[in-house]
């Protein structure tokens, strides 16, 4: 692997840092407390859809296994149990086994914030307000101008106007069930019945032999649903995922779907939100399911954060939280086609 320097991306990088600052301004104005957290942990929440980085802490001939956190969730939820209230983390997170691409980096900046006494749809309102706030600030010539001063000589800089031209006054809301019907002609009955779903997928030409419902579902979602999201003049909020895709979310009364949404602009997924599951027994059950899935997929067997379950027993307040890919968000606001264009330095193959 090598270290690459991209000095030509300095301007984009400065805009990216400006967007980070706008986000933090917004959250602090709204009363969210910023928390700084470790990126190394001795145990993690088991999540079957991602792989982790493993390392060792060595002292006097002894060793302890440590993991880079794939998200700050296990830490922030503990603090919520202790009554910290609305809070956020904006910093590094790490996911292994992810090839760098225009939307992925194994080391990335995550914004995760939690709001107490709020459902996932309350977070949706907050996010929309944040998008409007970023857009408004990016269109302020005086603010943008001071950034350009830092990375260019006055004489060779070009005036640019950033920000989105889409309408940020409301979401285009669509449920996962409606989206599968509209974009993939898969109806509710087929979507939730694993056997019918696989049969339908096979009929559509997907290879289903030896693959699970979750795998085929993700494939169809990525191939047929996602490219349509956030392209109708509004950002799209797609909500209520089948319960198989929500290890830490509260279920809806229908028992089939969970209170999870994702939001998209121009086909790019930017954030993922849940009404948090606070039932510790249900959470413990899902932990074991995820551990089994990880074993089946031959993923790293890491220590399980049992303290997380203990904290839930003590009582997680009714709350919702969202994780946002900050680099992707900046990429979309700056009209770039890759998060790589925001970086002045990276490590790649």
């Amino acid at each position: 692997m090598k270290i690459n320097v991209y000095p030509l991306n300095l301007e984009n990088h400065c805009y990216y840092l400006f967007i980070v600052k706008i986000i933090e301004d917004f959250l602090q104005k709204k009363g969210y407390l910023k928390i700084d957290l470790p990126v190394l942990s001795s145990a993690l929440i088991p999540e079957s859809y991602l792989e982790v980085f493993e390392t060792k802490w060595q002292y006097f001939g002894k060793e302890k296994r440590l993991y880079l956190t794939p998200s700050p969730e296990l830490f922030l939820k503990r603090l919520l149990v202790y009554g910290i209230g609305d809070c956020y983390y904006l910093g590094k997170s790490f996911r292994n086994n992810e090839l760098p691409s225009s939307l992925h980096s194994f080391e990335f900046i995550i914004l995760e914030f939690y709001k107490v006494n709020a459902s996932y749809m309350d977070i949706a309102d907050e996010v929309l307000e944040m998008l409007r706030y970023i857009n408004k600030k990016l269109k302020r010539k005086d603010l943008v101008s001071s950034i350009l001063d830092k990375c260019h000589k006055k004489e060779d800089r070009q005036e640019k106007i950033f920000g989105l031209e889409i309408n940020l006054n409301k979401w285009e809301k669509i449920s996962v069930t409606e989206a599968f019907e509209r974009y993939a002609s898969i109806f509710e009955k087929e979507l939730f019945d694993h056997r019918l779903f696989l049969k339908k997928a096979e009929k559509k030409g997907y290879r289903v032999d030896g693959f699970s419902y979750e795998e085929i579902w993700s494939q169809i979602y990525t191939q047929e649903i996602e490219p349509n999201l956030g392209k109708n003049g509004y950002p799209t909020l797609i909500y209520d995922y089948p319960k198989e895709f929500a290890a830490l979310a509260k279920l809806n009364p229908d028992g089939k779907t969970a209170q999870r949404f994702e939001f998209y602009i121009n086909g790019v997924e930017l954030g993922d939100c849940y009404t948090e599951l606070s039932d510790w027994q249900e959470q413990e059950k899902r932990f074991y399911q995820e551990v089994l899935r990880r074993k089946k997929q031959k993923k790293i067997i890491h220590s399980i954060d049992k303290g997380f379950i203990e904290a839930l027993k003590y009582g997680l307040p009714y709350c919702s939280g969202i994780a946002i890919g900050v680099e992707r968000l900046a990429m979309v606001f700056l009209g770039l086609d890759s998060i790589k264009k925001l970086k002045v330095l990276d490590i790649s193959l």
């Binding site: 992810e98 693959f211 993700s218 979602y221």
Partner: protein
């Protein structure tokens, strides 16, 4: 040979739904739910059609060994392009549908790489650029000085492209044969 879809890369030839396709773009994608995927854009060597396909990262894909062989372009008719392998003097024909318009920029006698699979010619690798003589160009209208203004010019193969106003008949222009765009003028 079968490989994991996660290892697909640009330029690979694969067998997909009983056709042979070339990978134009392959990008890893982890949707944060379910498993990781490989998003690809693939090009059908027979029909010249591009489609988007998402593979599951654990899915096996058959990679086919396609050879690219340097051949001389002999001529074309209404259906095919005809090539000759200069080493064996064997002649091959490729249907026009497989080259999606490339034939408009090819001169007889030119050497090009032809994709061959099991001695069967599939398609032509588009050259990055081609050099063609301008046979007809209108005089630029005086006073039309808008920067970037272009006019139609006819090239020796009969194709008409848009070129800058200063291009005259007799000039040799460099063209991207995949897009038909003017790239530059050959120095005299």
């Amino acid at each position: 040979m079968k490989i994991n879809a996660g290892n697909l890369k640009k330029g690979d030839f694969i067998r997909y739904q009983n056709d042979i396709w070339q990978v134009q773009k392959a990008e890893f994608y982890a949707p944060g739910k379910g498993s990781a995927l490989m998003k690809t854009k693939i090009w059908n060597v027979k029909s010249g059609k591009n489609i988007d396909v998402t593979f599951k990262s654990g899915e096996e894909v058959e990679v086919v060994d396609v050879e690219s062989r340097l051949m001389v372009f002999l001529y074309k008719d209404n259906e095919n392009l005809y090539f000759m392998d200069e080493k064996t003097f064997n002649q091959y024909s490729i249907p026009l549908s497989a080259v999606s318009g490339l034939e408009k920029y090819l001169k007889e006698g030119e050497k090009l790489y032809v994709y061959v699979y099991n001695e069967f010619p599939l398609s032509v690798r588009p050259p990055l650029s081609v050099r063609l003589k301008v046979v007809a160009a209108e005089e630029a209208v005086k006073g039309d000085t808008v920067s970037g203004a272009k006019k139609p010019v006819t090239l020796e193969t009969g194709v008409v492209i848009m070129a800058p106003l200063f291009i005259k008949a007799g000039d040799i222009v460099i063209v991207n044969p995949e897009t038909g765009e003017y790239v530059g003028r050959e120095g005299k």
